[in-house]
Subunit: 145 residues, 2 copies
Amino acid sequence: MRALHQRLNIVGLGVADVAAATDFYRRLGWSPSSVSNPHITFFQSGGAIVSLFGRRALMDEAGLDDAAGHGSAGATLACNMASKEEVDATLAEAAAAGGRISAPAVDRDWGGYSGYFTDLDGHAWEIAWNPYFEIAPDGTVTLPA
Amino acid sequence: MRALHQRLNIVGLGVADVAAATDFYRRLGWSPSSVSNPHITFFQSGGAIVSLFGRRALMDEAGLDDAAGHGSAGATLACNMASKEEVDATLAEAAAAGGRISAPAVDRDWGGYSGYFTDLDGHAWEIAWNPYFEIAPDGTVTLPA
């Protein structure tokens, strides 16, 4: 099996103030998706998605130490899976490949299921099943406008 | 004009050892693009691209302080433009929107032209013209296999 689909669905940027960060990207001409809420902003960004999420919450969820100063102290990468079972299998394979499970997969308040591993340099990948995000045959996730 | 195209073309991950990091992603089942070289590895990752690049070189190029510990100390986001003029215009608009130019645009050794700005939380965007990367009408860049 292939452990991790070779695709990046979402880059999550940890921010101090979601509203202020969203306004900045609006000034750059970006439009949030309608699936955004006060806690998280989603932007369709070509074939990938950029999200803005509270840094403290992001680091807690990912099991990362904000003080560590590595790349993942501020951003995470995400790959969306088709099922909870695929999330578990992918995390197991990532660990077998030398990754570190920083946050085991759990049911999330938002209705999905996800866990995190970090690569050799501490970059964090969230492996997620999100029942609200449809994955196209080519692996991309497209948000409503 | 819109300042920054609403798209993410590349996520550049700063790594301690490009070969070791590449091997890790190979163990996950990923295949590098043929445009990779010993200094940088490119992976087509769905509609976006993930690259692995020496962290020190990445931070120097982006004008970022590795000790700062913010997100950009380990990763950068990139948006590819169709011309040098578009790079300059986008960086100017980003600065006008409240971004900080961390590295003014310059001709790069690899044959392109790029500069960097950081958003309100220090996440770094490289605005790049790369004569070797074709941008499709939908804004995506697709690498050779």
